[in-house]
């Protein structure tokens, strides 16, 4: 009797362990399956189109009967333009906001501000898109002319969308700088601003870089909001005019979502191949983060 009970308990413990293992495995398996799936669906394109042509041709006419084009350079360029400009706008603003929250804002006001930033992170991207269409695009149109649906509008929306990521991670890394550094700096007669720029920010550097990379990933992967405001023209941006900012652009993500509903055959395959390129971008960023955070840990351990 007693022995039975012991046995039952043992099986019970074991089965819980395996259940948890299965649950943990689901996440990892999903990544593996997705990777496998997009490569399986996208790689066959390279049987007919060379990777060089795919990446560097500007000719995108995948469903043309005669001389179809499978070049996604315009979309890679589009993604790079909107992401870069989004970072140029979002990073300084985000870091400034993080400094303000970590070092200057006090008490209830700081708490409210922090909550507001959290809310910003929770707004669905389609709502950002609507905001862009009704507010940002008209302003850009009035200032720069054209339709207002262009790379600049897309970048502004993305800049706002990556703010919460940049602000919250930067703020935490500034906050977790050892208190001793701060008092040492004040003790030497440094001002608050000198302490922030010369001690706190350098000490928080790796966290801030991680924040920027995560923001970059978010910006590259964002689909709906840019789709609604960036114009979606499958051509190379016109760099002669405002460095391409007033051009209507299509990003990698927009390319997939625009055509997927009707594409078939090679055209459809090319969209999966586009997602491989996107996937490689994101993976590179992830590896970069791993590398940076690991380097910091080693540094802190010594």
């Amino acid at each position: 009797m007693n022995l039975d009970r012991k046995k039952i308990r043992k099986y019970y413990e074991q089965s819980i362990k395996y259940l948890l293992l299965v649950c943990a495995g689901v996440g990892a398996a999903a990544v593996l399956f997705i990777t496998f799936f997009i490569f399986q669906s996208g790689a066959p394109l390279f049987g007919q189109v060379s990777p060089i042509e795919f990446l560097f041709s500007t000719h995108w006419e995948p469903s043309a009967e005669v001389d179809p084009g499978f070049g996604i350079l315009p979309f890679i360029t589009g993604s790079i333009i909107v992401t870069t400009l989004a970072l140029l706008i979002g990073v300084p603003v985000g870091i400034a906001c993080a400094i303000y929250l970590a070092e200057i804002a006090k008490g209830r006001f700081a708490e409210i501000l922090r909550r507001v930033v959290e809310v910003l992170a929770g707004i669905p991207s389609v709502v950002f898109g609507l905001f862009g269409m009704t507010v940002i695009c008209p302003i850009v149109r009035d200032v720069l002319g054209g339709t207002g649906y262009n790379a600049l509008s897309g970048s502004i929306i993305l800049a706002i969308m990556i703010l919460p990521t940049i602000i919250s991670i930067s703020e935490i890394s500034i906050r977790t700088v050892p208190h001793g550094y701060k008092v040492a700096s004040f003790g030497l007669g440094a001002t608050h601003w000198q302490t922030i720029t010369k001690v706190l920010l350098p000490a928080a550097r790796s966290g801030i870089i991680a924040a920027i990379i995560l923001g970059t990933g978010r910006a590259i992967g964002e689909t709906m909001a840019v789709y609604m405001v960036a114009g979606n023209t499958p051509l190379m941006p016109n760099f002669g005019e405002w460095l391409g900012l007033t051009s209507s652009v299509r990003t990698l993500t927009m390319n997939i979502i625009t055509d997927m509903s009707y594409a078939s055959g090679m055209h459809r395959t090319a969209l999966f191949t586009t997602s491989i390129v996107l996937f490689i971008f994101i993976m590179t960023l992830n590896v970069l983060i791993q590398f940076i955070t690991r380097k910091t840990k080693i540094h802190e351990a010594t």
């Binding site: 004040f186 030497l188 350098p202 000490a203």
Partner: protein, 252 residues
């Protein structure tokens, strides 16, 4: 004739919110001497030390009244806090070098005070590290991370960092409590050197240390300065029963 003291406090009271941490502290600190502040944990000695270079200003809930004179100037009224902290340096309990090179740590102070020329910085860095008796150990690793030094070396580097801004008072908040006995001995020897040029006020938990290194000693208890005098008098001829009890190890 009234004697000139380096630092004087008159009726200094300090509150953390509603809690009073210092009560009517009157103290005179002599030029170029080492003054030790002793007392049990929470007696207010570190809090008192931090009022002397206004480090308590960093804590929002602190309220101070009374007067602190530095060279007969009221530091809470007539002194720029940046200038004050340049004149009155501070060394902390836990060695806290910045995560930068040895050189940049020492050059930090001069740089924030506007010195840019490389030769000038080089000579300040070398002079300060030598004065802090750690030159022999770091001369060949000036451009390596300060966090790679041992705890004792780090603490002497922190002293060098303070010396680099040319203070004339150095406040030390239990500077050896995180160090091993050999490093502690090195720092104590160093203090003996430094008192020729600087006025030093040191908070210490270690009574033997106060006995070894200080010229004057003040005994704090519950936010009150119970007794202050030459270290010899405090240790061998205390006037107050409580001082005697503490010195002889009956509490604390």
């Amino acid at each position: 004739m009234k004697k000139n003291y380096k630092i004087r406090t008159e009726k200094l009271n300090l509150f953390y919110g509603d809690v009073q941490a210092l009560v009517d502290i009157n103290m005179n600190v002599e030029y170029n001497r080492i003054t030790a502040l002793i007392g049990p944990s929470g007696c207010g000695k570190s809090t008192y030390l931090r009022t002397l270079n206004r480090m308590n200003d960093l804590i929002a809930s602190v309220k101070i009244d009374g007067t602190v004179y530095y060279d007969d100037t009221d530091i809470y009224k007539d002194y720029d806090v940046i200038e004050l902290r340049k004149r009155i340096g501070m060394v902390f309990q836990k060695p806290n070098p910045f995560p930068m090179s040895v050189y940049d740590n020492v050059a930090y102070g001069p740089r924030v005070h506007g010195i840019r020329k490389k030769e000038e910085l080089d000579s300040i860095v070398e002079k300060s590290i030598k004065a802090a008796a750690v030159w022999d150990e770091v001369a060949d690793r000036l451009h390596q991370p300060a966090l790679g030094l041992s705890g004792g070396q780090q603490q002497r580097l922190c002293i060098a960092r303070v010396l680099a801004v040319e203070p004339d008072v150095i406040l030390m908040d239990e500077p050896t409590s995180a160090l091993d006995p050999i490093s502690t001995a090195k720092i104590e020897d160093l203090l003996d050197q430094l008192k020729k040029k600087y006025t030093i006020i040191i908070v210490t938990h270690n009574m033997q240390q106060a006995g070894r290194i200080s010229d004057y000693t003040g005994f704090f208890l519950n936010g009150i300065l119970i007794e202050m005098g030459t270290t010899k008098d405090i240790f061998f001829n205390p006037q107050d029963k409580r001082t005697e009890d503490y010195i002889s190890g009956r509490f604390g």
